[in-house]
């Protein structure tokens, strides 16, 4: 299985150093939490890893392949999916259609198969079944036909996770998956992350909720001022008083 790594990544915005020689190698599977105060460079790191930002120096590797300058959709096709802090969803279509859109390699998205219906009906049925299975997994089966924009905030978080899963990606980069969510739904989302870990996926998630990090993370990476200042098992990193005091609060 490929390992997701970055080496000496640097990125600045208008003179502010968002990433400074960041080097991280994530485990091949498991749950890695990225924590740190606002402005520490956590989201910038995910944006660089997924091709949304180009670093000024350094490189990102997925296995032996360099992905530093690949477009976001090419990185997604390699099996690295992501969610956004601001919950980007296709608002015009239903919950089910959002998940179906994320299914890979659909012939029905091409003009001629769509017009002539060669094998498209069977593919649609198969994709619908797979999408419903994913929705069942995240607990949104009953909301399948609702417009995506009408879901509650927590349900929209679940839907973005379902969309990531529908891409069949092995690596999921989640930007604050439980922030602002009802405590019961936090437990539900953390339970899903554990199940995905058990299926062999790598989940990298940015989070401010230290209790949630303690519950599920196998590895914690602490960032501040664009640098990685600590990493290791939560039992070790989160016990260091200087980290808890200075960077987490």
């Amino acid at each position: 299985m490929e390992t997701l790594c970055c080496e000496s990544l640097s990125k600045s915005f208008d003179g502010v150093q968002a990433l400074e020689k960041v080097g991280v190698c994530f485990p091949t599977s498991g749950i890695a939490a990225v924590i740190g105060p606002n402005g520490a460079g956590k989201t910038t790191l995910i944006n660089v890893l997924t091709g949304f930002l180009r670093p000024e120096a350094g490189r990102c590797l997925f296995g032996n392949r360099e992905i530093t300058r690949l477009a976001p959709h090419r990185i997604a096709r390699l099996g690295i999916a992501r969610t956004f802090q601001d919950l980007r969803l296709i608002q015009q279509v239903s919950v089910l259609d959002n998940v179906m859109l994320a299914r890979p390699n659909q012939r029905g998205e091409r003009l001629l198969p769509a017009l002539l219906r060669f094998g498209v009906a069977e593919e649609e049925t198969r994709n619908r079944e797979e999408a419903m299975r994913t929705l069942r997994f995240v607990g949104l089966e009953e909301k399948a036909s609702d417009p995506a924009g009408e879901l509650s905030y927590g349900q929209q978080k679940l839907l973005t996770l379902a969309c990531c899963l529908a891409t069949e990606a092995r690596v999921l980069l989640l930007d604050e998956p439980v922030a602002g969510v009802h405590p019961e739904m936090v437990e539900q989302i953390l339970g899903l992350l554990r199940r995905l870990r058990d299926e062999g996926k790598l989940i990298v998630f940015i989070e401010h909720d230290i209790a949630a990090v303690r519950q599920v993370a196998d590895v914690v990476i602490v960032m501040d001022n664009g640098q990685v200042i600590a990493q290791g098992p939560p039992s070790e990193v989160l016990e260091r008083p200087e980290i808890m005091e200075a960077y987490v609060g």
Binding site: Q91, V93, M100, R110, A114, L115
Partner: protein
């Protein structure tokens, strides 16, 4: 009854043009003015095939539609896609589209002249009588083709991955790409479908009435009004918008005279822009970049 028949005939070709324009607009969010020259170009290509080359009319019509689809597709691949790649704004794309329209419309004028041309012989033929009204066989064909094509497009949009992908690209092209959708291919497919509808509309009007190099822009302006009345996001809405507009124009011709039909159409446009800019059946649009 005659008024109803006239409305149906006028609405059918208008609806084809309007749905084609609406599809392209809702996916790309810019005014593709060169859509007008697809309408004109297809009619003149059919004229070239049928009258100048002596091909059977059916073959000439297929040639015209294929030419229209290629023309629309070439504009997307050769002009709009590279411009989008350089982050051109909707205004820049609109200006490029207007420029393309002027160049190509002049090319049509240079090639075939500015005189009115007829696709069919000018002999006046007796129409078919329906419930006291008269309608030409070509008009009946226009209505049937319009209903059939709009049904096919509705099915494609509602029942296939392409339709879903078109809505996704319209909503958030960047997110659609991240989800693995090939947005450029989806936009090209949209141009192909929209251009095919415009080409068929242009050919039907040329068959039923006549053709001139400026016919496309007149049709496009009315199509834009129909799209605004019906709402960009709904094919049924655009079809009803076309019907409403055609009815208003026919009543204006009947009551006020034909010179007032465009004034009535654009007065309705102004009313909708002020009172209900999202149209009768549309949803308010969000600003997106493609």
């Amino acid at each position: 009854m005659q008024l109803t028949l006239n409305v149906l005939v006028a609405a059918s070709t208008l609806a084809l043009m309007a749905v084609g324009f609406g599809l392209i607009f809702s996916t790309t969010r810019f005014f593709h003015f060169a859509h007008a020259v697809v309408y004109t170009g297809a009619a003149y290509l059919t004229y070239c095939g049928s009258v100048q080359l002596g091909l059977p009319l059916v073959i000439a019509v297929l040639l015209g539609v294929a030419g229209g689809v290629c023309l629309g597709g070439l504009m997307e691949v050769g002009l709009y896609r590279p411009m989008r790649g350089r982050s051109a704004s909707a205004l820049t794309l609109l200006i490029a589209s207007l420029g393309t329209y002027v160049v190509l419309q002049n090319l049509v004028s240079m090639t075939w002249g500015d005189d009115v041309r007829m696709l069919q012989s000018s002999t006046v033929r007796e129409g078919i009588e329906i419930l006291g009204g008269r309608i030409t066989p070509t008009s009946v064909l226009a209505i049937a083709v319009c209903v059939a094509l709009l049904a096919v497009v509705t099915l494609v949009l509602r029942r296939t991955g392409l339709g879903r992908a078109m809505r996704a690209v319209a909503d958030d092209a960047e997110l659609a790409r991240i989800r693995g959708i090939r947005a450029d291919r989806v936009i090209l497919a949209t141009f192909a479908i929209g251009s095919a509808l415009a080409a068929v509309a242009g050919i039907l009007v040329a068959l039923d009435v006549n053709m001139r190099p400026t016919m496309g822009m007149n049709a496009l302006m009315l199509a834009i009004v129909a799209v605004i009345i019906g709402g960009v996001s709904s094919i049924g809405g655009i079809a009803l918008g076309s019907l409403f507009l055609a009815a208003a124009q026919q009543v204006a011709i009947w009551q006020l005279g034909s010179q007032w039909q465009d004034a009535v159409a654009f007065a309705i446009l102004l009313v909708f822009l002020l009172a209900r800019p999202q149209g009768l059946f549309g949803k308010p649009l969000r600003k997106v970049a493609v």
